[in-house]
Amino acid sequence: MNLDKDLVAAMATPLVLAILVGGRNYGYAILKRVHELSDGDIAWTDGMLYPLLHRLERLGHVRADWGVSPEGRRRKYYEITEAGEAALAEHRRQWSAANRTLGGLWGLTSPVSI
């Protein structure tokens, strides 16, 4: 099952921030992590991750610096900032509210098989 495009777009920011809470990381690894966590349900075009990361950087939610990959190529690493953690907490509140609301409705009826 592939998630709806709008839903993926809405999830992208908290998803990336939450992955970065686990430590400094780079674009390709973040995408792989998303793929693992969602069992491939969440797929976005790889190239779209980078404008998102740059936006988060501009907003001060992440910090970026250049490192070197094991193969010796330049690699840009991202790290979450305090502002990013605050933003993530806010995202989390909103998603819990959404979850609670929908869960309240769906929990009473028959659960949808996935």
Binding site: Y28, H54, R55, R58, R73, K76
Partner: protein, 453 residues
């Protein structure tokens, strides 16, 4: 095999970098991603060719990537922005520019000829801004395809200003036989340029909402327009100087004056349009020049300002309220604001704090300290001399400039990095509106307040 992959990656990367919105750093990042993906796919058994094709496909079409980067990095797009008219044919914008430049010449020359025939011609200096900038505004309305509704509003604003300014009894005769222009005439004429410039910027932005990034576009345009105008003026100065020297042996001063009366105002008026056209047509040339100029002069100004602030603090200012000195400091602060604005507009918003940011901050703080020293000593004395329109205008502008710079410095000191830069840029561009309101205040409200003195 590896060489083959390198060649294909290089080809893909070149396509990506053709768009000005993807910097080499971004391309590095994307290329690294692509190579990681290829390596992973090869590990699960795909051959190099297949792995490359799939990896490219997963990254997305290059034009989608560049479009997405453009949305995030609107400032980089500035290099690419082409006025809508230019997309039709190459020759048309040039012709349009020539027509409007000719129109500017005709308008200024007609006004000059009429003013030669009428006496007293005090309407001429008062309206001088109206003989030049409305043509530029009309030019923008045309080439930027301003919607009719917005164009009507812009026209109404210009007409309203023209009526008010000419209804005000700012006559030379009001001050008696000295035939000296009253203060208010000079003030109104000067500030009208500023007010009309903002109207022109509104037309330049095509009547779009003035968001922070669009205001920054307006700043870039203004800065580059000034550079082009100065360059044209320098060339024009050489031309006129040589003309004078060539004519001297065969004619008297009268003829030379006549030639100048025709050439000088025509050139000055037409250059406003030509400079505006050049900014759009040759964007990338000055785009490279402006940051260099800012980079050269910001440290120099910082040194001068720090030295001057120290000297003033030690020597103390025993001067009387001196309007000329105040105007000098107004000009100084305007230059500093210009350097800051221009530095911010050309700065890559993602780069972390560099030496230049520190230098800029030093320049701002020194300018504020210096100005407060002068302002303080003058404010103490202003009571003795009373307020005049000129003093109010000079003091008001000074206070606004200081507030602007203090705000910038506070935002700059609060934290380094791209976020602070963004905040500074937003504050600075928001403050432009305050300056526009102030200029309108000087034109519209100040003269009646002082009984048109």
């Amino acid at each position: 095999m590896a060489a083959d992959l390198d060649a294909r990656v290089a080809e893909w990367r070149a396509a990506l970098e053709r768009s000005a919105t993807v910097t080499p750093g971004d391309a590095d990042e994307l290329e690294e991603h692509l190579r990681d993906r290829v390596a992973d796919l090869e590990r699960v058994g795909l051959d190099g060719e297949e792995a490359f094709l799939i990896a490219v496909r997963r990254l997305g079409a290059t034009d989608h990537i560049t479009a997405e980067f453009a949305r995030e990095h609107g400032d980089r797009l500035w290099k690419q922005l082409v006025p809508p008219a230019a997309s039709t044919t190459g020759a048309k914008p040039f012709t349009e520019m020539l027509v409007f430049a000719a129109l500017a010449v005709v308008v200024i020359q007609i006004a000059r000829l009429i003013s030669d025939q009428t006496w007293p011609a005090d309407w001429f200096p008062r309206n001088i801004a109206f003989f030049v900038l409305p043509v530029l505004i009309a030019y923008f309305v045309r080439v930027r395809r301003v919607p009719v509704r917005v164009a009507v509003v812009i026209g109404a604003v210009v007409a309203g200003l023209a009526i008010v300014v000419n209804v005000y009894p700012l006559s030379f005769d009001a001050v008696g036989p000295t035939r000296e222009a009253p203060q208010s005439v000079v003030l109104v004429a000067g500030h009208l340029f500023v007010v009309l410039w903002f109207v022109a910027l509104a037309a330049y932005l095509g009547g779009e909402r003035w968001s922070a990034s669009r205001r920054m576009d307006a700043v870039r345009f203004t800065g580059e327009w000034i550079i082009y105008y100065v360059l044209i003026a320098l060339g024009g100065g050489v031309l006129l100087g040589l003309t004078t020297l060539v004519l001297m042996p065969i004619s008297d001063g009268q003829v030379i004056n006549q030639v100048m009366a025709w050439v000088l105002p025509s050139g000055a008026a037409a250059a406003t349009i030509v400079a505006a056209w050049l900014v759009e047509a040759k964007k990338s040339i000055v785009e490279n020049l402006a940051p260099v100029l800012t980079a050269i002069f910001t440290p120099l100004f910082a040194v001068v300002l720090v030295a001057a602030a120290a000297a003033y603090a030690i020597a103390g200012i025993g001067r009387e309220f001196d309007r000329d000195l105040l105007i000098v400091f107004d000009v100084l602060l305007v230059v500093v604001v210009g350097l800051v604005l221009y530095g911010l507009s050309a700065r890559d918003p993602l780069r972390s704090t560099g030496v230049m940011d520190v230098v800029r901050l030093v320049a701002i703080v020194a300018a504020v300290v210096l100005d407060l020293l002068v302002l303080g000593s003058m404010l103490a004395r202003v009571g003795e001399y009373g307020l005049t329109p000129n003093r109010v205008a000079a003091l008001g502008l000074n206070v606004l400039l200081v507030v602007d710079l203090v705000g910038t410095a506070v935002l700059g000191l609060r934290g380094p990095g791209p976020v602070a830069t963004g905040r500074m840029a937003r504050w600075q561009t928001a403050f432009l509106i305050v300056f526009a309101v102030w200029a309108a205040f000087v034109v519209l409200v100040l003269p009646p307040l002082f009984g048109f003195a």
